[in-house]
Amino acid sequence: MPSHDVLIIGAGLAGQRAALAAAEAGASVAIVSKVHPVRSHSVAAAGGINAAINPADDWRSHAFDTVKGSDYLGDQDAIEIMCREAPKEVLHLEHIGVTFHRNEDGALDLRAFGGASMNRTAYVADITGQAILHVLYEQLMKYNEQIDRFEEWFVTSLVLDDDGACVGAVAREVRSGNMEVLAAKNVILAQGGAGQCFKPTTNALICTGDGIAQAYRVGAPLMDMEMIQYHPTTLIENGFLITEGARGEGAHLLNGNGERFMEQYAPNKMELASRDVVSRAEQTEINEGRGVGPDGAGIFLDITVVPRKRTLEALREIVNIGKDFAGVDITREPITIRPGQHYIMGGVKTDIYGRVPDIAGLYAAGEVACVSVHGGNRLGANSLLDTLIFGRRAGEHAAERAAHMSPPEAGEAQLRADVAMIDEIIGRERTGRRISEIKDELGVELNRTVAVFRDEAGLRHAHEVVRRLKEQAATAYIDDRGTIFNQDVLGAIELGYMLDCADAIVVAAIERKESRGAQFRTDFPERDDDTWLKHIDLSRNGDETPNVSYSPVTITQWQPEERKY
């Protein structure tokens, strides 16, 4: 049984950053990922990373923009930490090799981004996530000796000891089918979000909420799960992301009448208002018959107003996406987009060190976690920052904790249970539904009812669907009876993770009877600070609907006020 000081599950930006930080602090580290690390979904982050680097900027300004962007649901202590530590982190990335774009003086160039009061987004063309992820992986290769990589190992469960502390995870090597307990003094969850609960989504096929569900199943609280971000610009054909960097570079949004309709909704920030605001504006235009494209279900994003040379240099990836996936030359004509599911602000509840309450030795960082720095709505280019800052903090804290601990005692009971669980799935009769059907139905339902606009009836319907699909998933069958690279059986396990996440998302959205950030209830259209300036926490209640409780929002220096852009 491999045993380490720190086991990190997930190898996107949060996971890799945590691994490097823990190793640097002297811990023995293992990082496990169900895909090769560079395939992690952080790779798709396009636009950039926020930091108050410009001497004329101030981290407090960044923090205030983030608080306002969160619709005052973000915890201000965590936001302060993130924004204060941001410049140092971005400079660290620069020092280890990220090829950030420079200005004419050779210093870091900064671009405009949504919800920000000044240019503070460092970037690498529009492949910022990829550039950072690949550079972190370069560092993992460099520290080959200190960090054990378990690439293409799929985690099936967390392992707790008799005292309820987390002491490892059960994982299956995808290539061989071999299952093992990876024991550790501390475990850091870093598996990203749960976008696959929605169809369409900008999220990769691997974003199936594994970490959120694994933590939930061992009793960890989830927080802010109703806060689902719809990104304002996703390709109408298939939901692919068009980076906010496009609007940062000056692109316009136009309705069917050719109007820059954001004037009506956010006269100051226009296209660069917060994402929830822009998505709601777009959806309103579409709903009121001023959309474009087939069924008037889209909006034009006009990038032709950006100088062509600049587009080719700084928005290269979306030039390709336009050409390859929509047949549009974005430097010559507008492209049709619509709001699409993109990010989950909620996740496993943690403190500012990434610690999960109630479960010793368990940490979470990145999209899987909810610190909460994003509250009701995440600002563009704050997610990369969140992964790196809290990934590093979790890694450092876990390494420090491990230094004072004796080796973990992880039993094999969970291993035996998981082996049996997989055998049972593989051995199922072909009588139930196909996994793919259930997944499709879930995605379509959530995208219909838990989207930009929500109401009680729709959410109740979604909840019934989720509960029914959970039952059906228990007997759903797969085709692959093999052991080597059996992706089919992993898909069945992922479906279980997604359904747990969906359950929590829907229950929280029903619970919050107000409109704040990404949660807009047409039946409760106002923000209600008196009743709802608080987090909704969910915890597991056997196989029943999760238990609901509340926790206060931490306010340090910014009292809630009306939110205008």
Binding site: H41, A44, G97, L108, Q130, K309, L312, S436, I478, D479
Partner: protein, 375 residues
């Protein structure tokens, strides 16, 4: 919606049987990708079809395959396009080449691709002192190396690298492009050492035969071969590294022969590349050794009438005016103060760029220096 038939190369390592073909017909819109086609077949017909995939948008690099014999990403190829290029109307999908197959369309990238990446010391070796703030570097230099940062490690170039097929130890296009990412990075302190190492490796810098396959294969415009040529220019022209493989001399021999005669003079190539300066002038013993080594090749060429003994002894002739044109190219290129390097991000075809370099893509980007070597 239209019907498309996919013919997938399947291999079940647990069956003990050989690989086989498996056909599935699915209905999808023509602009959907081959990956979506495969995933539809997997969802509706057979969940045991093995393929790595994640982002569906050509950014994660998981789904490298061969479609109708051409390497690329399954998510990056439209069904209608794939059908149009299919031999018999059926879209053929196979695993990538040059790497062992694990199952169906899944290959062992660790055994080949990642091993080669690890070979090129793939991390920044910082110039000291590390500044308190960011390194101040030339704006263009960061944009320049961003082209190789755009590599998503999908393996498509490795799949069809002809040199690697002949020499499995060849470091290969992806890893060498990765190497350029550091050699071209002004923050790296080990540029000379890296170049020296790659030039001296018999499976390194000069093992590329300039076949353009990797440029064709790359879905992200990284143009690995162009990066290899850049490495050569830096090694040869900038750092004057005389490698023991004679790669640098061999390349120079090509360049000067074409300059002098307008065409290659094969009989002169070996002597100029190895040892002496000319077969007919100063003859050096190492050239004789190389000539003896090359006898089988020369004999074969004679037997197949690719060369005649008389023809080999005198250079090819081209019309005088043509030779003048060739010289003019040399004069222009060599007369510049700096090398002019285009790349994916610094594109030559924008309105305000110099019209003289209306290069349509990066394959043309090597206008700046001597290159061309066939080992």
């Amino acid at each position: 919606m239209a019907d498309f038939t996919l013919r997938l190369r399947r291999y079940d390592p647990e069956s003990g049987g050989p690989p086989y073909w498996d056909e599935h017909t699915i209905a999808l819109e023509p602009h959907r990708s081959v990956l979506e086609g495969i995933l539809t077949a997997k969802a509706q017909h057979d969940g045991s079809i093995g393929i790595r995939c994640s982002c569906r948008a050509a950014i994660c690099g998981s789904c490298g395959v061969r479609i109708n014999g051409q390497p690329g990403l399954a998510c990056h190829t439209h069904l209608e396009h794939a059908q149009a290029t299919a031999r018999d109307g059926v879209i053929e999908v196979e695993p990538m080449g040059n790497m062992p197959v694990i199952k169906d369309l899944i290959v062992d990238m660790d055994a080949v691709h990642w091993k080669k990446i690890q070979r090129v010391t793939p991390w920044l070796i910082n110039k000291e002192p590390i500044p308190e703030r960011e390194y101040i570097v030339d704006r263009e230099s960061m944009v320049d190396v961003t082209q190789s940062m755009a590599c998503i490690q999908c393996g498509a170039c490795v799949s069809d690298c002809l040199s690697m097929e002949v020499d499995p130890l060849f470091i290969g296009p992806a890893a060498l492009a990765k190497a350029y990412r550091f050699v071209g990075d002004p923050r790296d302190a080990a540029q000379y050492d890296r170049l020296k190492d790659l030039a001296e490796d018999p499976h390194g810098l000069y093992d590329c035969t300039h076949c353009f396959k990797c440029i064709e294969a790359c879905p992200k415009g990284v143009a690995p071969m162009s990066q290899i040529m850049r490495l050569r220019r830096r090694a040869g022209s900038d750092h004057h590294i005389k490698d023991r493989n004679n790669g640098e001399r061999h390349e120079a021999a090509f360049v000067t022969l074409v300059k002098d005669h307008g065409l290659l003079w094969e009989a002169e190539l070996l002597p100029r590349s190895y040892g002496g300066n000319s077969f007919f002038g100063k003859f050096a013993p190492p050239a004789a050794l190389e000539l003896v080594d090359s006898l089988p090749v020369i004999t074969k060429a004679l037997l197949r009438r690719k060369v005649t003994p008389a023809g080999a002894l005198k250079p090819h002739k081209i019309p005088k005016d043509d030779l003048k044109q060739v010289r003019r190219i040399y004069d222009t290129v060599e007369g510049r103060d700096e090398r002019f390097e285009l790349n994916l991000y610094i594109s030559g075809y924008d309105e305000d760029a110099e019209p003289a370099f209306a290069a349509p893509d990066d394959a043309m980007a090597s206008a700046g220096g001597p290159e061309g070597s066939e080992e």
